[in-house]
Symmetry: C2
Subunit: 211 residues, 2 copies
């Protein structure tokens, strides 16, 4: 069987094939790279017209990452998908509390999701950080509550939860809350590889290299 | 903000919202649950018409899982997404060699992807197992080569790699190779949460409970 087997050749060819779907969206070079990675991760060109990037999101996220900002996520799959070697090269780490036994106990007691409790638990640690939500709308709603009611200020929120219950609503709330720069997607689509791809794209924009 | 916060309520409501998109596909009860989980994981009802399940795939996979079959995957994100507590209750484990240093060395030497080398490395261990490919078309092509040329016989191949270079082709090759029962998706869409969702759906079909 004849097929492309060399990793960088696969990636470069993917980006070429994605390019035509971004025409007409008036993206600059950095946005083009970011959008391309979301489409690459999902295999879905339908992400082109529904991706939403706040005008300050890329600058703020890059600034924070370069300064060693940590990443806080709702689920382990996002942590797994993030290039942690690259992140460590800037001094950052990924944190996820969804599997924490104490979080599980509290979630059961309150009858809410573990990732929602996990975000509340992070609290003040989210100041200046990058938040990456790839699964739970409840986690994104909780982050927005922390921003609005408790004055928490992440540098950037990558909010790409997935599904039919609350995902579209939580992402619309992110896009309209007016406080923290964000990267999101309209509607029900999303997921952990998409959120991780956004984070990786931001890191690769810094120095255009990958370990 | 008013939104559903209770995990089982979220899941049940999701399944209700997905149901209308499966009408007219003539699915039985088990297929309905499997398709619903793929759509749930992607937030994309576009998976309904493109999902392909070999008529023996569910029976064979369930039989194997009940007998303690192991799962072999191409990437860590699939391993992360699989309910490993549930799998362990049947005696199974998930294996992934993509981060293995020896695999990395060999991949670099040969100029091919690490997940392709990893599949080759598994070799005979794949007999009677469930293969779960959620990222790399090259890994799926290699599994099909092992099946055709080396007589390797997994019980079922869940082949849902993603992207624009080889993904559609590798999945079409899976659907037409005529030897091992499979679960796949047509076209470029796919990814690790979709592959993990298929595996989890198969496990939940066995006794309808989740730890």
């Amino acid at each position: 069987m004849d097929f492309i087997k060399e990793p960088m050749a696969i990636e470069n060819r993917s980006m070429e094939l994605i390019a035509p779907y971004l025409e007409g969206l008036h993206l600059d070079e950095r946005e083009t790279k970011l959008y391309s990675r979301l489409i690459h991760a999902s295999g879905d060109v339908g992400y082109a017209p529904i991706t939403r990037v706040h005008p300050e999101a890329i600058d703020r996220a890059i600034e924070a990452l370069k300064a060693g900002a940590h990443i806080y996520t709702d689920v382990e799959m996002v942590r797994t998908g993030i290039n942690k070697k690259k992140l460590a090269s800037f001094g950052g780490e990924v944190h996820c509390l969804v599997a924490d036994p104490e979080v599980a106990v509290r979630a059961k007691e309150e009858g809410i999701t573990r990732s929602m409790v996990a975000m509340r638990q992070f609290g003040k640690a989210l100041d200046g950080s990058i938040v990456a939500i790839g699964n739970a709308p409840t986690a994104l709603f909780e982050v927005l509550r922390l921003v609005r009611e408790e004055g928490i200020r992440p540098a950037c929120i990558v909010g790409i939860p997935v599904g039919f219950v609350g995902a579209a609503e939580s992402k619309a709330a992110l896009a309209s809350h007016g406080i923290v720069p964000y990267i999101t997607v309209e509607g029900t689509k999303g997921g952990s590889p998409i959120a991780a791809a956004a984070i990786n794209a931001l890191m690769y924009l810094i120095d255009n290299t990958r370990p």
